[in-house]
């Protein structure tokens, strides 16, 4: 199974080297990858429907309990088959859709990477590896959405999608870690078996909220839904793949997968029902106002996702059954509609529903596909969509709380979805063919076969629901923790409330279709309310955030060295000063200190004068000279306090520095006072404060006892181990010999640098 998941990654890596081959005629060969995977997963259908669960374990980071554990049960099988099946058709379709595109190989690379990540996501048993694959889908979808990278809108929507889903990914990681801490394992299967009641844990609500953020961002639930319509800038195969069967279903998958772990709790159920209901109604209403085919499909996709969340929120066996069926329904008809849109776009050059009419005369097979998908989306028998709708109504009707309100909402949504399905799937083909489309030609079969195949599958499943009943749906429901549930799919349920609701939906929806024509005026009308939408609000937050960071950055990162130094010093003064204020003792014990002799007093005085002179003189030469005096004074202090080696080094180095300075001094600019009076005062106060803090710090440290362990070691072993009597020298050349060697290398590098700078002769052209 690991190979199956990695196949997509391997293939995309392979494309890096053999891209040229797949860019041209052989592009279609890459469709073999999803086909092989589809067949591979299809052979498990038998075993899974017998209730088997196939697991595979590879340890990865065992110390953190993170493993590559894969589980193939009904739920993952359903998703795997959708991912590879729709993937296969999309791969085929792309070969014709992006024929001779400059970067076709790249596109296939991203697509197979995405497919592999998606497979990994639905097969992972471990929450951490699930998170890794989750992020991989976000990243690869970023490349897919922004595939037309020369288009600014396309780049922007790719970034929006990435930041929204990336945000959700972070929430998922934190949620997963919380779950792992609470249950003691990252494996979902082990969580289920552990029997820990997470619902009563005090972290339950945090976990649920984090998981919700992850699922809602990925599955475009209100108020995070706005990245999805934006993502329509992507080439149509991407929209098809991401928004019908894969990417946006990842959130749904996560919710379904965790239903047995976290579900059956008031917070879980009511939040999902409310968010799902808002999303489904909100975006279903939005479809009325769109004229772009892809825009309509985007909003109807969000609405469908809302229905799924709504059903998962109900959490009853009926609702989960309805959700599983509806996932298949939606994947089939939405992929068809997207692919069909792509064909129309490619052949006519427009996706505007206000001008597209009568295309059945020129694109007949596509028209059939569109029609079949439309009736499936409308839930008209004998399509599988009818089954999905019936089950949805049934579970909502039997829900224990406010069933009436919920059924009204779901019926409204379904009516609007029927309308939008008709607008997308039937309207472009109905009516009289305008003159401008008379020359439209039939495209290659690679373009019309995939949508037709999907649409027909939807009808076949509808007529013979037995095909999927025990092989697919039942294992899914049992994977959701409803073992042994009665699953019986059939088209005809007899005359009951649900049937009447269906009839009502279809009648009102059809009337709506004939009454409301998509016009540009309606779209402009809704655009006026745009400022209230979550998209504009988040855009505003975005803008403000950028402005804020702009101000922040420009204030602190202004490019002036001294302002960085000042900032660091102010923080240092504040923190150290505060700490000293709280803890300092200020009891200086003069008895412990050595007496001041006249030599030391004079040296200190000389040093003090030299320091002041260096700072305040206006002559460069005087400043350098008095700096030399400071150095010599320190040298004498070293002599007084038993450090002969230091004194010698300080003496020679100080002399060398002064000589070097004097040598280049007259090549340097005049020694001007550049800053004004105020700045000088400010800097003076700052530096005096630091000096004072350092003095206090020194006195405080001197009051503490000294630990001489290390020094004693060196002193005692200098002769015994290293046979040297000057301990400082022994430390430098023997105990820490390697350090000294590196120090010498540093010096040599500095010397080479100095030499290079001195000898550097700029060419005439470089001299300005």
């Amino acid at each position: 199974m690991l190979i199956a998941i990695l196949l997509g990654f391997i293939f995309s890596l392979f494309l890096v080297f053999t891209g040229k081959v797949f860019r041209g005629k052989f592009a279609i060969l890459s469709a073999a990858i999803p086909l092989i995977l589809f067949i591979y997963f299809a052979q498990f259908i038998g075993r899974i429907s017998n209730g088997e669960v196939i697991t595979e374990m590879h340890s990865w980071v065992p110390s953190f309990g993170v493993g590559l554990g894969f589980t193939l049960d009904g739920l993952s099988l359903l998703f795997s088959l959708m991912i590879t099946g729709v993937g296969f058709l999309v791969f085929l379709y792309t070969a014709a859709y992006l024929k001779n595109h400059k970067y076709l190989d790249r596109f296939y690379g991203y697509l197979s990477m995405f497919m592999a990540a998606m497979l990994g996501l639905v097969l992972s048993d471990n929450l951490i590896s699930l998170f890794v694959f989750w992020e991989l889908t976000s990243i690869s979808s970023f490349f897919l959405i922004g595939f037309n990278n020369s288009n600014e809108a396309s780049r922007k929507s790719a970034i929006t999608a990435l930041s929204i889903t990336g945000l959700g990914g972070l929430a998922l990681l934190v949620g997963a870690i919380f779950l792992g801490v609470v249950t003691g394992t990252y494996s979902i299967a082990e969580m289920l078996n552990s029997g820990i009641d997470i619902g009563s844990n005090s972290y339950y609500s945090i976990i649920v909220v984090l998981i919700f953020v992850a699922a809602f961002t990925k599955s475009a639930q209100f108020p995070f839904h706005f990245w999805l319509p934006g993502a329509m800038k992507a080439p149509t195969p991407v929209s098809t793949y991401l928004h019908s069967a894969t990417m946006v279903k990842a959130g749904i998958y996560l919710l379904m997968r965790l239903t047995p772990v976290l579900g059956a709790h008031e917070l879980w159920n009511s939040t999902l029902i409310v968010v799902g209901a808002i999303t489904m109604v909100y975006s279903a209403v939005h479809t009325i106002f769109r004229t772009d085919l892809k825009g309509i499909l985007a909003y109807s996709t969000i609405s469908a996702l809302g229905i799924l969340v709504f059903l998962i929120g109900q959490g009853t066996t009926d609702a989960l059954l309805a959700a599983s069926v509806f996932i298949i329904v939606h994947a089939l008809y939405k992929a068809t509609l997207f692919l069909m849109t792509g064909v129309i776009d490619l052949q006519t050059g427009t996706r505007d529903t206000t001008v597209l009419r009568g295309l059945r005369k020129v694109l007949f097979p596509v028209a059939i596909a569109g029609f079949l998908a439309a009736i499936s989306s409308a839930g008209i028998p004998p399509s599988i969509g009818f089954l999905g709708k019936e089950l949805t109504y049934e579970s909502t009707l039997h829900f224990e709380y406010s069933a009436i309100l919920l059924i009204v909402l779901i019926v409204i949504t379904k009516i609007l979805l029927l309308y939008s399905g008709f607008v997308a799937g039937i309207r472009p083909f109905a009516g009289k063919l305008p003159e401008r489309f008379e020359k439209v030609r039939m495209p290659s079969p690679l373009l019309w076969m995939p949508p037709l195949l999907l649409a027909v599958t939807g009808i076949v499943f509808g007529v013979f629901p037995g095909i999927i009943e025990s092989s697919m749906i039942k294992p899914v429901v049992s994977a959701l923790g409803k073992d042994g549930a009665e699953v019986h799919l059939q088209l005809w349920h007899g005359f009951n409330t649900i049937l009447w609701l269906s009839v009502l939906t279809i009648v009102i929806g059809t009337i709506l279709y004939f009454l409301i024509k998509p016009t540009a005026r309606l779209e402009a009308g809704i655009a006026k309310l745009e400022f209230l939408s979550p998209k504009s609000i988040s855009l505003k937050i975005w803008v403000w955030f950028t402005k804020f960071s702009d101000i922040w950055t420009n204030f602190f990162q202004n490019g002036y060295l001294r302002s960085y130094v000042s900032t660091i010093l102010v923080v240092l003064i504040a923190l150290t000063g505060y700490s000293l204020y709280n803890t300092a003792q200020f009891n200086i014990n003069f008895d412990k200190f050595s007496k001041v002799t006249i030599y030391e007093a004079v040296i200190s005085l000389i040093m003090l004068v030299a320091i002041f002179y260096t700072v305040f003189t206006r002559s460069r030469l005087a400043a350098v000279a008095s700096m030399g005096v400071i150095g010599y004074a320190i040298c004498l202090l070293f002599v007084f306090y038993s450090a002969p080696d230091l004194a010698m080094t300080q003496f020679s180095i100080d002399t060398l520095t002064v000589i070097l300075f004097v040598l280049v001094l007259y090549k340097l600019p005049k020694y001007l006072r550049l800053s004004d009076y105020k700045t000088r005062i400010k800097d003076g106060v700052l530096s005096l404060a630091v000096g004072a803090i350092i003095t206090v710090l020194v006195l405080e440290v001197l009051a503490e006892p000294v630990n001489g362990e290390v020094s004693d070691f060196y002193a005692n072993n200098a002769y015994l181990l290293a046979h040297g009597k000057n301990v400082v020298n022994v430390i430098l050349v023997d105990f820490r010999g390697a350090d000294t060697m590196i120090e010498i290398s540093v010096l040599s590098i500095a010397a080479i640098g100095v030499f290079g700078l001195l000898k550097l002769r700029l060419k005439k052209s470089d001299q300005r």
Partner: protein, 117 residues
């Protein structure tokens, strides 16, 4: 004496920082040198100071028998002095070179690399 040294260290730090905050490159380097001296003295003082007993084992014995100055800070400071010399000499030559190219000593005018001077 320790108190006087502590104050001296404080003054060295203050002077060094004040010079670093100037706009002139020459002053910046002088500031770094002074700050380095202050830091050396700080380490030296914190190792406690002892008069007239350098960390050299007397000729006829193998270990110290009486009190001795702490050798570890001395070794550290020795290294620091030498390394800071490397830094200083490189910096001095660098400003000389930089001045030749950009014709300014003012740090504020050295911000943009592409600005034609």
């Amino acid at each position: 004496m320790e108190v006087i040294l502590a104050i001296l260290i404080g003054v060295l730090y203050a002077a060094g920082i004040y010079m670093i905050l100037r706009r002139s490159l020459v002053k910046l380097i002088l500031g770094i040198i002074i700050l380095g001296n202050g830091a050396n003295l700080l380490i030296f003082l914190l190792g406690r100071i002892v008069k007239g007993s350098p960390p050299i084992i007397p000729g006829d014995s193998e270990v110290f028998e009486s009190i001795y100055a702490d050798p570890v800070p001395q070794a550290l400071i020795l290294t620091a002095i030498v390394i800071s010399f490397g830094l200083q000499s490189f910096a001095i030559i660098l400003i000389k070179r930089a001045y030749k190219v950009v014709k300014t000593d003012d740090l504020d005018e050295m911000n943009a690399i592409d600005k034609d001077s």
